[in-house]
């Protein structure tokens, strides 16, 4: 069992060999995943990778065709109601009553969690306060900004302090300010010990918020690990060299002591970039080569790869694998 070294008693979510097809087209194709309580697990993948299908199955909205899924110790198919008691869901579209106000929404959902009228009212007040929504008055949710709506949606997901919170692309469609608002809210939750599964197609978002990341493509996990591990797994560090004169890019690539097949050149930014194995040797080698050839550099820097590069690397590997085994 691939549970990433997580002890079973501490797992918040276990997903084993889950399949789901829509009219013959597989959305999830044998997906495995497990993560511990008290962590933030990122599921990173492009549109159509199966992220939303996964969240809908985990939150009991969709039945899997095959596989085993446990959330907070309960089977999502056989014990759906037990699971529903323990989860919070923030879907891609605001799951709110748009005609009602913020407080009305939270009180209604509180009653549906069976908190009782008084407790539901108190809880609504606490959450409105916490997400900075107390001064919205009677304004219907329809009139909220995108960021406000998302925060209210998040508040509604937290009414019963869920054991596991699912966030499906929580910042898709938000402007940078809305995104910053949601990130701050998620960070404060994690500080309070909430277990979170977060799907995203923004690599930066996974890097910022998640402890561990599963990279998903075509309904399967193609890589798994911390952001640092994923970066290390795809060629380690990189060196970036920015030249003063774009005309010298070709000559510089020829003379630099870097692996020619893996060098990328961005003429607009006058940038040469390549993976390195020995950081210091590569740095001094590059500096020396440029001095000897009298090529002027504006900037030379060693850095870790971005998750974009990691993702491209991983999906390229997978495309190659598919090309080798086309009939599988």
């Amino acid at each position: 069992m691939e549970s990433g070294g997580v002890a079973v008693a501490d797992t918040a979510v276990i997903v084993e060999g889950v399949r789901k097809a829509y009219g013959g087209t597989p959305a999830l194709d044998g997906l495995d995943l497990a993560f511990a309580r008290g962590t933030v697990h990122g599921v990173l993948g492009p549109n159509g990778a199966g992220k939303t299908t996964l969240v809908r199955i985990l939150s009991t909205l969709l039945r899997p065709d095959a596989g085993r899924i446990e959330v907070a110790g309960h089977d999502v198919v056989a014990e759906a109601r037990e699971v529903r008691r323990r989860i919070g869901l923030l879907g891609q579209h605001a799951a709110l009553d748009e005609q009602l106000g913020g407080r009305q929404n939270l009180e209604m959902f509180g009653r549906l969690y069976h908190l009782g009228a008084r407790h539901a009212r108190v809880r609504a007040g606490v959450l409105l306060e916490r997400f900075g929504l107390t001064d919205t008055g009677r304004k219907p949710v329809r009139a909220y900004s995108g960021g406000m709506r998302r925060r209210l949606d998040l508040a509604a997901s937290l009414i019963r302090d869920p054991d596991v919170l699912f966030l499906d692309e929580p910042t898709t469609g938000l402007d940078p300010r809305g995104r910053a608002e949601v990130w701050a809210s998620v960070r404060s939750l994690v500080g309070g010990g909430t277990t979170v599964l977060l799907t995203t197609q923004y690599l930066e978002e996974a890097d910022q918020l998640a402890d561990r990341i599963s990279v998903v493509a075509s309904g399967r996990v193609i890589a798994d690990g911390t952001a640092d591990e994923l970066k290390a797994a795809t060629g380690g560090d990189r060196i970036d060299v920015v030249l003063r004169d774009a005309g010298q890019l070709g000559a510089a690539v020829a003379l630099l002591p870097l692996p020619k097949s893996e060098v990328t050149v961005d003429p607009d930014r006058r940038l040469i970039s390549a993976p390195v194995t020995d950081r210091m040797a590569a740095l001094s080698g590059v500096v020396r080569a440029l001095e000897e050839a009298c090529v002027e550099a504006e900037d030379i820097a060693l850095r870790r790869p971005t998750l974009d590069e990691v993702f491209l690397h991983l999906t390229a590997d997978r495309a190659e694998e598919a090309a080798w085994a086309p009939t599988r």
Partner: protein, 254 residues
């Protein structure tokens, strides 16, 4: 199962009442429209073809039945609008009773329909219409009308769940009108070609209208129609209630 079914259903009914309070205009339009139709047919269009007796006395029970049938559109629209938004996902991910969403919808619609009936009866009175029946018969007639509405409600919920999108409601609206007019609500079947008259007699709405006329003692009432007005809606319910509930419970298959 069961322990929270009532409280959850009440919470969902309160949600609909809160919508009325938020947008009273919508409710008012829904209530005024049948009154408009009634006045139009009473004074503008209605001739009462084939009706023996004052047309007004024939028309009003017909309009009551027609209004109950047209309630289907409102139900459909409300359900599809809910489905179209993410809020239904939240309801389905909560540990609430499964059917509470539908029960809330039907409770609110029935309340609105009862209110609509009261208003139409009141308007009928100001037009000079009089009920010649015992209080028991009057309540029986109102009960038959609400039973028809209840059957139409579940047809509406089922159609909405099948259609899924508000745009498709328009297609159903186009069909509801001819089906509604293809009844004895506005004209007596005797005035129609034989084949049409037969079709009209079979319309469940006609059965209810005839039974109501019978119970309230107006023209067009024939004895022995009450049972048909009970059985037709019950038959429709027996088909569409389980279909709608099943469809709602299995929405995850979509």
């Amino acid at each position: 199962m069961g322990t929270y079914a009532l409280t959850d259903s009440w919470t969902m009914t309160r949600r609909e009442l809160a919508h009325w309070a938020r947008q009273p205009g919508r409710l008012v339009v829904g209530l005024v429209f049948p009154v408009m139709l009634l006045l139009m047919f009473a004074y503008l269009i209605g001739g009462g073809r084939g009706v023996s007796g004052p047309y007004r006395d024939y028309l009003i029970p017909g309009m009551l039945a027609l209004t109950m049938a047209f309630g289907l559109e409102g139900t459909m629209l409300a359900v599809t609008q809910d489905l179209d938004k993410g809020v239904i996902d939240r309801f389905r991910s909560l540990p609430m009773a499964n059917g509470a969403v539908l029960v809330g919808r039907s409770a609110a619609d029935m309340l609105q329909s009862a209110l609509g009936l009261a208003i139409l009866v009141g308007v009928g009175y100001t037009l000079g219409w009089r009920v010649h029946a015992s209080p028991g018969a009057f309540l029986g007639a109102m009960g038959l009308l609400l039973l028809l509405r209840f059957a139409m409600l579940w047809i509406g919920i089922h159609l909405a769940l099948v259609a899924g999108r508000p745009e498709l409601v328009q297609a159903v609206q186009i069909l509801v009108w001819p089906v509604g007019f293809l009844s004895n609500a506005l004209a007596a079947p005797a005035s129609m070609p034989d084949w049409l008259g037969t079709a009209v007699e079979w319309n469940p709405m006609s059965r209810t209208a005839t039974a109501v006329r019978e119970l309230l003692g107006g023209p067009g009432g024939e004895p022995g129609h009450v049972w048909a007005a009970v059985l037709w809606p019950l038959a429709l319910l027996a088909v569409f209630f389980p279909l709608a509930v099943r469809r709602f419970a299995r929405m995850d298959r979509q």
